[in-house]
Amino acid sequence: MNTRQMTARFAAGLGLAATLIGAAPVDQPQPLTLSVGGLRSQRGFLQICLTRLPDHFPDCSDDPDKRHFSVNAGASNAINLGTLPPGDYAIAIIHDENGNKKLDTMLGIPREGVGFSRNPPIRFGAPSFRSAEFPVAGGAVQQAIRMKYFL
């Protein structure tokens, strides 16, 4: 066996080992797609906030990572939220029907729909980051969110 053959064998062995350990290394960035259901109309936009910082959920206005997205409410399936470094994330969505880029309220009650990843129940107020977080690691991630309306 010459040197070239030995190198080839070694490389093949490495490849096999990598396959046995796991298809994709866990520290690779992964794509995230989002589908939004329960929309009461196709009007306006979905203002989407994606964060990994508990202090900036569900209000990510000061999130230094600025993972903010805006899509037409009519295009609510398979929204591409980019490729993310592994970690725990949470999503908050406003169905901004009048397109004024904020959550409208009346007497403190949201007049536009809201949604959160993992669809946590809203019992005593805004959901915690912990109740909405999901991991990004090891492969493509898909999230499905149902919108909630109060008025």
Binding site: C49, D59, S70, I94, K102, G108, I109, R123, F124, A126
Partner: protein, 254 residues
């Protein structure tokens, strides 16, 4: 995809829906508790004294109406406080029984009952002053004789004086959540039992040393007959101290 902007759901934006939900849920709980407790004792009345409520149907219908209105007046402050307890750690309600010595759990129940009794005695006496009686308390005395359905039959003004007691006390006196459940159970059972028109406790208790301190149906019946005595809720202490205790009443219809 459009230009990124700043999607912000302020944490507070979910608070009002959560408070409303809690207030509505608590109103339904209080109303359901009333229907179950009063319905249960009305059924017991029908078994023990089949004709006791004969001819009282129109009165009972009014009692149920006022009571369900009172359920909302009781449920709203209780719901707001329950929300604040869960969302912001308001109140001194605790869930770890060892947060205080074990002996404190029964003591806290007695403290709540004593505080509630004191508040009730003095607001009740106040509501028997003629002007206030007409405005606030006449609705409750319109039950002649009271029935098991009259337990929460209050005018909204009177209901308000009763509704704030427990929600205020949980901010002042530490209490385990199960002990609080005990207080609410005693409140419900005594409230219904004291109005149902017959004595459910044995004679040795009512006429014995315990009955000298505790208020049961026999004592409260006299208040509904004579109006100007026996104002207390759980204990005869304030009535005795203030000379308003006229002893036990009689049940003419049983």
């Amino acid at each position: 995809m459009r230009t990124p902007l700043i999607p912000a759901i302020p944490r507070a934006a979910m608070d009002v829906p959560a408070i409303l939900f809690s207030a509505i849920a608590m109103t339904l709980i209080v109303g359901g508790r009333y229907l179950l407790a009063s319905g249960g004792f009305a059924l017991a009345t029908r078994i023990r004294h089949p004709s006791l409520y004969t001819g009282l149907k129109p009165q009972i219908r009014k009692e149920i109406g006022w009571s369900l209105l009172s359920a909302a007046i009781y449920g709203i402050p209780a719901g707001i406080v329950a929300w604040g307890w869960q969302a912001h750690g308001w109140t001194r309600i605790y869930t770890d029984i060892h947060a205080f010595p074990l002996w404190y759990a029964p003591v806290s129940v007695l403290l709540f009952l004593f505080a509630h009794d004191t508040w009730f005695y003095w607001t009740h006496r106040w509501m028997h002053r003629p002007r206030l009686f007409r405005v606030a308390h006449a609705v409750h005395h319109a039950s002649r004789p009271p029935t098991a359905w009259a337990a929460m039959s209050f005018h909204p003004w009177e209901a308000l004086t009763g509704a704030i007691v427990i929600p205020a006390l949980v901010f002042l006196i530490p209490i385990h959540v199960a002990a609080l459940g005990m207080v609410l159970t005693i409140m419900t059972v005594m409230g219904v039992g004291n109005h149902m028109g017959w004595e459910m406790f044995p004679r040795w208790l009512v006429r014995g040393p315990a009955g000298a301190m505790l208020i049961t149906a026999s004592h409260h019946q006299r208040h509904h007959q004579a109006y100007n005595c026996n104002y207390g809720l759980y204990f005869r202490l304030w009535d005795r101290l203030c000379g308003t205790d006229q002893g036990l009443g009689t049940f003419d219809r049983t």
